[in-house]
Symmetry: C2
Subunit: 442 residues, 2 copies
């Protein structure tokens, strides 16, 4: 099925003239038409725009022009990323019909890479916890996770090979885990957030979804780069995730498992699955008791996140309080209640975490951890607990979800690998080694 | 000599640990200290900043981080490009001490590529015709050309392997020709002008200088990409000049020589040199009488350029008329005198030229043309006539200066090749074929 191709394979077939971008985009549009009524991954599918971009990409190819790394490949964007001419509604009635006047940097980089912008995927309210109505493609009664609910669901459902999300806490890795796909959040500062909804200038990061390690690497590499319009953007060469995949580890990698205070929130099927992987890795994994300061990041993250969201979205809360959910309201009120001293302390603990982990990776290639508590919860129970991502996101570390397990009811469960900051290439080398060695052991 | 390495060679030696970026930057700083008093290529050399960037690039390498395509290589920027924290003075007292608050896109892309920002090079007044005091490294009594005077001189003098300029008429190709180096102006819209002095939104383009085709391609590729903040920026994959160099032409290329009304401005030594190249190419060159509409572009260019500069710099002219040169004042007055109808007609002729040349390159791989009238004029005689670049710049075509000839007094004379819009890769394939075949014939 065309609509289930990986992006890498689709790009190759387009480049070689075996398929056209128009055929691929049409196959994806057909798939969306058939299945999105029950899934609800999309806020807006720009069918006409996507077909017209596909025609342009096919045209460039026929003229012998240089092809982009995502030439002709359709991509979905979480509805917090600006796409010129389309609305950015951020999952809230407060932003209903707000048309973007200019592409955000991520969208611009997609066009530069030759990707086709397929439309906007569903986000939870302001990329926070109040669930949207999107269903998990593996079982629509269950949540796809959040806040990048539609992006993860769209890739899993065969709507698009690639999609873009964000992660302030666990909004990429957790939905990737629930939907059984690859998710990748690069090091903080590698992908620009200029033109994207800002919920936390300190914690917001961009993440991507795909059907293989190669795909998420290809997409993240196309999006990466210094942008002076994002204060967190790194003014130096970006790590190249794809280059990491082309490398073999010089020696077999060494993993760390951190015992963290919240690990008891794992379901038994997730615990069993991960234990099996850990024992397969044998002496390649070292079990470490996490220091208090690392456990404490969960509380500090909450202060930073809530303090900042209350301020960054102050306009929305002031003018549209009546349409803000009962999930978000108490968060905003708490956010307003923190003192500047509390906030400053929390910020300094976040900076400390970055330093801690810089040392840490002298001894380990990657941390292995759960991506989420277990299988996707029922939609009525929310989008799941992001806590299994909090520490790593807060420290700005690169993280990837590997869809390796399934739970007691047959829904997917992912495994998370976390790497050293700005060594995303090394994380990918390690991740690929692990996927291959598990496959060989089967 | 370290300071005379090509950028490609320097990058390789840095990547392999044979030299450090610090050593290279220091060698370039030493060379500047020794020679810039007589040349005057620099407005500001940021020695401290450059050494600190070099240390960072060396540090990243030692940590095993991904290297950029220009990792550790120093680059000079014409003083119309914003570099955060440095002044952008545009060659005019009107802009004295204007510190840039943010990097322009070109500077940002340099940092992303791992390049070291060496400082700001001399531009003529507002990148127009009034000469600066820079001397030609081959003979300081002569002009290096303009308006990118300092950038061309700095590369030729061994101050930096790479530099960035601009071209609204002939401001990259002409100084490259006078200074005996490679100059390359990519297709209009390939490199963003956001954060760069705007003299003509229609005609302004970014150009680059280097010591080899590989170098100018490497630099332009690192700078290229879609930027929604530049209205001319192309929202699709950029041509990859470097890829063009790695290719052999499928068949031997075919060239066009256009007989243009202003060709009689060529000096006899330039004419002789070019005629020798043309006869060497034999039946591979077709001589074509340029249609009237192409000759007329010179007049239409003038209207568009003057009309726009009068408006884009209205603030400077309003508040600093007393420091505007007697060369520029009549230009501004003429610019103000054109009617909107004259401007609109000129704009439509510019658009017509783009269409004409789109057809044209179905039959030819490149146009061969003079880069300038001949050798560099004396400084007292100005920066030379840009007319040999006007048609191609106005049509937005990619152009490259090849430093192939020398004139009757031993100063360099360049040959210009012009390619099809957005087929910069094909232009580079052709240029390399020509350079190689001339070398083989010697």
């Amino acid at each position: 099925m065309l609509c289930q191709l990986t992006a890498s394979e689709a790009r190759r077939q387009i480049a070689e003239g075996l398929i056209t971008s128009q055929q691929l985009v049409q196959a994806c549009l057909d798939r969306i038409a058939e299945t999105d009524e029950s899934i609800g991954a999309w806020v807006h599918v720009d069918a006409e725009g996507a077909l017209s971009q596909a025609r342009e990409m096919d045209d460039l190819r026929r003229k012998g022009r240089t092809l982009g790394p995502l030439h002709g490949v359709p991509v979905g964007l979480k509805d917090i990323f600006d796409v010129k001419g389309l609305a950015t509604e951020c999952g809230s009635p407060a932003r209903k019909g707000t048309i973007a006047e200019i592409d955000c940097r991520v969208t611009a980089n997609l066009r530069q890479a030759g990707a086709v912008v397929m439309g906007k995927t569903v986000t939870t309210e302001f990329a926070f916890l109040n669930p949207a109505d999107t269903g998990n493609p593996h079982n629509p009664a269950h949540s796809p996770g959040g806040s990048s609910s539609g992006s993860a669901a769209a890739v899993a459902a065969g709507h698009v090979p690639l999609a873009i999300g964000s992660q302030t806490n666990g909004s990429t890795i957790r939905p990737a885990s629930f939907c059984g796909i690859f998710g990748y959040k690069p090091t903080r500062g590698v992908i620009s957030r200029a033109g994207v909804l800002q919920t936390s200038v300190t914690l917001d990061q961009v993440g991507v979804f795909g059907r293989s390690l190669e795909d998420v690497s290809l997409l993240a590499d196309a999006l990466s780069g210094y942008d002076p319009h994002d204060p967190a953007s790194l003014a130096r060469p970006s790590p190249c995730a794809s280059a990491g995949l082309r490398r073999q580890p010089p020696v077999e990698p060494v993993f760390a498992w951190l015992d963290l205070s919240f690990n008891d929130k794992m379901s038994s099927d997730a615990r069993d699955g991960i234990n099996e992987i850990l024992s397969g890795l044998g002496s390649r994994v070292e079990r470490i008791e996490a220091p208090k300061s690392v456990n404490a990041l969960v509380d500090y993250q909450k202060i930073v996140h809530e303090y900042e969201i209350a301020r960054h979205l102050a306009d929305d809360f002031e003018h549209h309080w009546d349409v803000i959910s009962e999930t978000l309201k108490p968060v905003v009120e708490r956010g307003r209640s923190y003192s500047d001293e509390q906030y400053a302390e929390a910020l300094s603990m976040v900076a400390g975490a970055e330093n801690y982990f810089e040392e840490f990776f002298h001894d380990y290639d990657a941390i292995i951890a759960p991506s989420a508590a277990g299988e996707a919860p029922l939609k009525t129970d929310g989008t799941g607990d992001p806590v299994f991502c909090t520490v790593w996101t807060t420290a700005g570390l690169p993280a990837v979800n590997l869809p390796l397990l399934s739970g007691s009811t047959g829904l997917p469960i992912g495994v998370q690998l976390i790497g050293s900051g700005e060594h995303d290439d090394r994380l990918m080398t390690t991740a690929q080694w692990m996927v291959n060695s598990l496959a060989a052991a089967e």
